[in-house]
Symmetry: C3
Subunit: 312 residues, 3 copies
Amino acid sequence: MEFRRRHLLGLADLEAAEIELILDQAERLKEISSRRIKKVPLLRGRTVVHFFVEPSTRTRLSFELAAKRLSADTVSLSASTSSLTKGETLIDTARNLEAMSPDVIVIRHACSGAPAMLSKVVQSSVINAGDGMHEHPTQGLLDLMTVKEQKGGKDGRIEGLSVSIIGDVAHSRVARSDIHGFTRLGCRVKVFGPATLMPMYVESLGVERAGSMAEAVEDADVIILLRMQRERLTEALIPSLREYAVEFGLNTARLEQAKPDVIIMHPGPLNRGVEITPEVADGPWSVILDQVENGVAVRMALLFLLLGEEES
Amino acid sequence: MEFRRRHLLGLADLEAAEIELILDQAERLKEISSRRIKKVPLLRGRTVVHFFVEPSTRTRLSFELAAKRLSADTVSLSASTSSLTKGETLIDTARNLEAMSPDVIVIRHACSGAPAMLSKVVQSSVINAGDGMHEHPTQGLLDLMTVKEQKGGKDGRIEGLSVSIIGDVAHSRVARSDIHGFTRLGCRVKVFGPATLMPMYVESLGVERAGSMAEAVEDADVIILLRMQRERLTEALIPSLREYAVEFGLNTARLEQAKPDVIIMHPGPLNRGVEITPEVADGPWSVILDQVENGVAVRMALLFLLLGEEES
Amino acid sequence: MEFRRRHLLGLADLEAAEIELILDQAERLKEISSRRIKKVPLLRGRTVVHFFVEPSTRTRLSFELAAKRLSADTVSLSASTSSLTKGETLIDTARNLEAMSPDVIVIRHACSGAPAMLSKVVQSSVINAGDGMHEHPTQGLLDLMTVKEQKGGKDGRIEGLSVSIIGDVAHSRVARSDIHGFTRLGCRVKVFGPATLMPMYVESLGVERAGSMAEAVEDADVIILLRMQRERLTEALIPSLREYAVEFGLNTARLEQAKPDVIIMHPGPLNRGVEITPEVADGPWSVILDQVENGVAVRMALLFLLLGEEES
C-alpha cells in the first residue's frame, strides 16, 4: 500500500490501513535517532516551514528534529514574529509562505480548522500540529505507536485493548485525535472527567462514558491523562486544582485498582500534583517519555510519506 | 561584467548595469526553488547572520531560505534577544558579530543609515533588509525583477514603462528603493497619495506627482500600492482608514480606467479593504505572489554575487 | 591525555591538564573560522540543543556557530517559548528534551546549579552556558585562551601572570569561572570593586583583595573588567553609575599607572562610560574582540571533546 495523501489534517480522515502505514514507517525510522550519526539524506533540499501561531516547545522541537534528521531545511515563524500582528489574514500569510516554495507547512493555530483552510489555498503539504479544540493528529499517532510498542500483540495489533482518557475531554484536541485513532484501530475507548468538561455528544464518537474514576481505571490497559489547563479555573468549570486532583487525579492508591500491567500516558507538559502524582509520573507504568521519543519518529515518518516518495 | 561591491546598502548607489547583473543572476537562480531538491552547494560553509532589530516575517524568511538553498549556514538575532536591550551600542553589537567571522550580515533596523554605519565598521558584507524610511533595496530589486518578467521587452528591457506608486510615499523605504531602481532602468515614475504623505522634494528624485488618482492609474503599465501603516492615524496624517480607502484605495472601478494589461504590485502585508480591495489583490492583474517568489531569487543572487565568486 | 568528562558544569571541577587540553584543541580548531569554507564534518548528524532560559545574544550565537561549523544540527528553545511558562518543572523539560535524543544540551539558567541538576537526570552531555551567580565556564575558557595567546610564554604557559578582576565580583559568574581558571593555571588573581560588591570570603578562592584601584591596576598583566549591572542600583548597592565610573571605571589616566603591555578584557556587553571608557575599550590594550573570536573556538573544542571522540 502507498500513502497517497498530501496533507495530515486529522486522524478522523484516515483509514486504519493508512494509520498502520504511518506507524510502520515510524517504527523503521525510529532507529535513526539512536544512532551516533542521527541523519539520513532522505529529504535533502526539501523545505519545511514551521508556522506556530500558538506557542509550543515540545511539538515544535520534535518537528524540527524530525525534519533535520531527514536532512530537510527548516525555517520557522511564530505568532509574535509574524505579520499576523500587522493585520494580515491567515490566508494571505499562507499564500506568501507558499510563494517561497516550501514542501511542507507545519501549522499550529488556536482556531479549529485553520490547517484545513490552509490546505485549500496552498500547493504544499500541510501538517496539523494542533488546531484549537479540534485535533492534534501527530500526538494521536505517537500515542498509538507507544501503545503498539507496549501492548501490541504479535504483528503489533492493539484491537480489543481498553483505553481510558481522563480529564478535560471537552477542550482537548489530544483527546479528539486519540479517540479517532484508537477507535479506528479497534480499541474500546472510555472517557471520564468533570461533567463540565465532558463533550455533549461524546458517544457519537464511538466512546463510552465511565461513571466513576474507579470504572475508568479498573479494566483499562491504557490510561491517558489529559493536562488540566489552568484557564478552566477562571472559566469556573472546576472549583480548584486541588479539588480536581482529589477527584480526578491519578495517584498510586487509585492505580492499585488497575490492571497490573496498565500503562500511563500523558501528552505533557505535566501538572505534577494535579492530574498526576509524581509517583505515578515517574513509576514503572509511565511511558510518558516513550511518547516523546516516538513523537520524533512519527513526524519523521509523516514528512517522509508526504514528501519522500512522490516522484520515485 | 563583474559585481565588485561588498555591500548592498541601497539602490541609489547602483548603476543600471549592476542592477541588471543582479537581476540576470536572480533569473538564473530562480529555477532552483522549483526543483524537488531545492539546494545547491554554492555557499557551503559560509555564514549569514540575520540581524533584525525591527520585526519582520516575510523578509527574514525569504533571506533565510535564500541562504539555505545556497547551503550557507544561518544564525539570527532579533531585537528582543539582542544585547541592545542591555544598552550595548549598535556598533559594539556589530563588532561582536564580526568577531564571530560571519560572511554576510543582513540587517533590518528602524534607523535610516544603520546598515551604512555597520558597513564601515565590519569586514563582512552588509545587506540592508530595510532601514527606517531610507531604503529596502532587495524589495526594490524583486519589484524590478517582477516587472521585467511581466512587462519586459525582448532582452527584458523595461525602459519607457510607466510606473505609478500610490500611497504613503513619504514614509516608505520601499517607495524610495523603487524610485531609484525604476528610474535607473529608464522607467517613468509617478507618485500619488495624500498630500500629507508626499515627500517635500520628490521631484528631485526624478519622479512626477500625479494630480489625481485617475491620473496615477490611467496610463500606468505598473501600479505599486504601498501599505497604509496604521500609525499614520495616530499621527493625524490621515483622517481614517475608511476615508483613505475611498480616496486612495485601488478597486475594480478605478482599474477600469487603467490599461487592460496593467499589473498591480504590493510589498505586503496587505491591508485588504484599505489600499487594495480583495478583488484587485486576487484578480488577474495582481502579481503580488510573483513578487514574493522573486524575493527569494533576488536574495540568492545577492548572496552569491557578494560572496560566491570572491576568490574564484 | 584524553578528555573523559561528559559534562562541562564549571571550571572549579577541572584540573589544569584538562583545561590545557581544551585550550589546545580550541587553538587547533580556531583556524576553521578564518577559512572561506568554515565547516568541517566532525559532528555531522549530532544534535545540539540550546536551552536558554535567560536571554543571551552573544553566547547563544557563539554556541550555534560553533555547532554549525562542526556540522552538528542545532535546535533552540528559550524561556519565552518553553513549557516552563506552563508550569512544567525544569527536570520534566530536561527529560523531554532527552527523549528526543540530543547529544548535548547547552543550558543557560538564572538559577545557580541548574546545569548540574540537569546533568544528573539526562544521558546527554550538558554544557553550562551561565548559571545564576555560579559559573560561566566557557567564558572562563575563552578568557584563558585569550591570555595564553596574548601573554603566554613559549609553550603558552601563563603561570605567574598577575590578573586583576575589577567590578561586581560578588554577583559575577564570569568572575567565578575566571578565578577558578586563572588560579588553576598558576596566575596570581586580585579582585577589586565596591565593598558592597565583594564576596565575603573571596580569599578562600585563592585570590587577594586589592586595597585600591591603583593597586589593582599597577602590577597587572591582565585586567578583566566586569559589566556593571544596572539592577545593582535599585538594590542600593552602588550610589549611581556615574559615581561607579569615577571610582571603579577604567580610563586612560588610570591606565598610565599600569604596565605598558597590560591587556584589557571584558565579557561584554560593554557599558561604555561606566566600567570602561571608549578610549580604553577601543585602545591598543583591548583584546575584547579577540575574546569573542576565541569564544567560538573554545565552544567548538568543547563540543568536539565531549562528543567527537567518544567511540573512535
